[in-house]
Amino acid sequence: MNRELKRVTIVALLMFLTLFVSTTIIQYVQAEALAADPRNSRTLYESYSVERGPILVGGDPIAYSQPSDDDYKFQRVYSNGPLYAPVTGYIPVNGEATGLERSLNSYLSGQSSSQFFDQLNRLISGQDPMGASVEVAIDPVAQQAAWDALGDYTGAVIVTEPSTGRILAMVTKPTYDPNALAVHDSAQVQATYDGLLADPSDPLFNRATGGDMNPPGSVFKLVVTAAALESGRYTPESTFPNPSSLTLPGTDAVVRNSGGGTCGGGGEVTLADALRLSCNIPFAELGMELGDAAIREQAQKFGFNSEFEIPTATEPSVYPRVLDEAQTALTAFGQGDVRATPMQMAMVSAAIANGGIVMDPDLVDAITAPDFTPLQEFEPAEFGRAISEETANTMVQMMVNGVENGAASNARIDGVSVAGKTGTAENGESDPYTLWFTGFAPADNPQYAITVLVEDGGGLGQEGYGNLIAAPIAKQVLEAVLNT
């Protein structure tokens, strides 16, 4: 009988062992995932009942919690809310948080595993629990300059540091005031939210990292130029036939240059001139010669078709899968089904400025516990090498020529060498254009990469173009940051 008993004892022990494991899985392994479930009302109460950590720009809070008299104990306040809304997001009493309030919630609310001992200490020493503070990479001067320069346009401006990927400015318009969504009356929050959602100008979109994705138009020619130079079969002096119109194979579609004529005159045009003057026909020809696979590969090396968390989730930019020749020709000048965010185009410019290496974009510098011990420092991380250093140097020169003596002339700054590329993308037969500028400065020692997006043709329908509206915005922002 004792042999059987021994076995039953083992079975009973295994049953308890299972329970030790299952409780550990739930309370330790899955705890953070469970806390992140939007249906988890405990997380919400919890995140309100502790003093949520502040979000800081240059040491000054752009989001902080102050004591309130109601059940939630603390009121979240967003100083300069509309300016920093795409950075902070908001945390409502009902519904889901957005922005850093969402992506760094566990740190801000003091629930992350790295704060475990800190919270234990506070518990033992009788202090109230408190969340960690988040210092973002945003440069307040660049952010304000981008806000001012974008004016009343619908669009976005993003400024990054090419060598690190740190996001120095991220502005999107139209925007909203996160304070209106942080009030503790959930009916009022719902009404405000519904109003913003119904607004046809989509103020809740972060157009710098997502929203209704736009075709990049001519700024995508940078990617195609990179693919050509990287193939080893082309140099800036390679030439292409220079007709004034091109019918795409197997279709009735006709491609024209933006001016309507040939590209700068002559029977043939060089790659350098085609990029400088931003001509469509030579790029359509180049695209068909390269093929969609080579362009896709290059685009993906720059970050297309990848998701980036900055740490807030962003929309991946898209270079479509499997294309025929005509579709490939369209994508070669950024039309067709190519879609890009300003953040993605900033990564392209920054990589060219950074000797060919793409850095992971990142909004946060450091997370610090209330007792000032660092919880997480954000070291620059490489996404990978997109182009060789030689190609990068060549392209810097080509982009400088575009600003000094080409289609991006309105970004010129006295005394500073600016590299840039404009874009004017078509959305539909009669829809307003999407206007772009992407570039960096100073070209010989790049400190700032900038991308400007203006939707709805900047109010000019099909009359607006990148150099008219987007390039001056970039110039104004670059002047502001370079003078500091």
Binding site: V8, A12, D37, R42, T43
Partner: protein, 470 residues
């Protein structure tokens, strides 16, 4: 036990208080003294838990409940003193463990009462204290009345009959009551007060032990070999099929999956220990799993439980009004919220989860005491069950061995079914967590089990085996 071998020559101590003619040799009651110290620690833990709940949830101390808890401690010490006379050599760990678990349960139920704004004689915590008192008195009576467990052997078939009657009671019109879908309660008027199935598990354990000791030869000797195992003859399958049918009846008519699993698991383990035939377990498990699968296809409530278990986070299941996964998921959220060290007494929000003081008390404790607290509670159960199994190993009569194993295993299995259900090891079923959960019948049943195990362990110590079989 070798250190106690010399005591076997003494006059039997269980023959009542010493009379003038028999001179009693006073020996130090080492085990009882150890139990006393452990009981004091247990009562301090319980008092601290109540005070911490009050400080955590109300920010002040209310002496009324502390006094009620103190009254309960007096009863526990009463049981201890009774054992000094009638069960001097009983296991010293069982009583303190049951005391701590009972106390922690009361503290958590009280904490939920505070959150729900309940107080006084209507509140679950005060009722739990009253039931605890009744349960401990029942344990004292049990240990005083049953001086030798072999008495129970005589009532084998009576126990079987009692178990069946208890199981059928909730189905009797007039006194049967249905609570959250399961028809396992009896009551008078509007109040559902008692779950006879909890008491039935003791009667069943007694019946199984007695029946198996009587009949195990025919159940284990004959049969044919297949796949390396000795399988029983068809005509010997009777008892297994009867118990299986009983379990299935509980599933179908009482709509109580957990109780069915508990009874059937208890029977299988006792059958295996008695006959040492693994084939019984294989046959039995196949039958039960087959039955459960058929039930999950045909009975809505079983199907829901399975679906919730497999995919609780599914939005449709979460939002389903009846039989959805809302409770399961809220329990997981609560446990997750507790994390490693818990929120502290009175600091979490266990009241968000439905029935946080009964079926879900383990999730409530996990939220406020954390993984550390859950581990401590599970360790207490492990120790309790291990002490019970010891009786099985060291016992000298097969009936006692079987009964000891059965009663200990039923506690282990019940903990597994409840905690495993809450933590998604198995589908969730409604069973009480022994000693912790709110519920009078469960407390009375489990305290009687404590008394029986104490009685069995005392016999083992009193009559040590000379030869331990391999």
């Amino acid at each position: 036990m070798t250190d106690r071998a010399g005591r076997t020559a003494e006059a039997p101590r269980s023959s009542g208080p010493p009379t003038g003619s028999v001179r009693r040799i006073r020996l130090p009651q080492r085990l009882r003294n150890m139990e006393l110290w452990l009981l004091i620690v247990a009562c301090i833990i319980n008092a601290a838990a109540i005070v911490l709940v009050q400080l955590g949830a109300m920010g002040r101390i209310d002496t009324q409940l502390v006094l009620l808890g103190a009254g309960l401690s007096v009863l526990v010490f009463g049981l201890h003193i009774a054992m000094r006379f009638v069960a001097r050599d009983a296991d010293p760990f069982l009583l303190p463990i049951a005391t701590v678990l009972n106390g922690l349960g009361i503290a958590m139920i009280y904490r939920i009462d505070i959150a729900d704004g309940e107080s006084g004689w209507e509140s679950a915590s005060v009722r739990q204290i009253v039931w605890s008192a009744i349960a401990i008195v029942a344990a004292i009576v049990t240990i005083l009345v049953i001086r030798n467990h072999r008495v129970l052997f005589r009532y084998t078939y009576l126990s079987g009959l009692v178990a069946i009657v208890l199981l059928l009671l909730p189905l009797v019109p007039g006194i049967g009551r249905e609570v959250s879908g399961a028809r396992v309660w009896i009551g008078i008027g509007d109040v559902a007060t008692f779950q006879p199935g909890e008491i039935a598990k003791i009667a069943l354990a007694v019946f199984f032990a007695g029946y198996l000791v009587r009949n195990r030869d025919s159940l284990s000797m004959v049969g044919r070999k297949f796949l390396g195992m000795q399988f029983p003859r068809a005509r010997d399958l009777g008892p297994l099929l009867v118990v299986w049918a009983l379990s299935m009846a509980v599933i179908v008519f009482q709509r109580d999956l957990g109780t069915a699993l508990l009874y059937f698991g208890l029977f299988l383990v006792m059958l295996y220990v008695a006959t040492s035939r693994l084939s019984w377990v294989v046959l039995g498990l196949s039958l039960f799993i087959g039955g459960a699968i058929v039930a999950s296809q045909t009975l809505d409530y079983v199907g829901n439980r399975f679906a919730n278990w497999l995919d609780p986070f599914n939005a449709e299941r979460f939002d389903q009004e009846f039989g959805g996964s809302y409770q399961l998921v809220q329990g997981l959220f609560g446990l997750g919220n507790g994390g490693l060290i818990g929120t502290g007494w009175g600091q979490g929000r266990p009241d968000i989860t439905p029935v946080p003081q009964s079926d879900y008390i383990i999730a409530s404790l996990g939220e406020e005491l954390g993984l550390a607290g859950i581990f401590a509670i599970l360790a207490l159960y492990v120790l309790f069950v291990a002490r019970g199994f010891r009786i099985g190993f060291a016992g000298q009569d097969d009936f006692g061995k079987l009964l000891g194993v059965g009663l200990s295993f039923v506690i282990a299995l019940q903990v597994f079914i409840v905690v495993g259900g809450v933590t998604r090891v198995i589908p969730l079923t409604g069973l009480t967590t022994p000693f912790l959960a709110a519920g009078g019948s469960s407390l009375v049943a489990n305290w009687i089990i404590v008394a029986l195990l104490l009685r069995l362990s005392d016999t083992v110590r009193n009559h040590p085996r000379l030869v331990i079989d391999g």
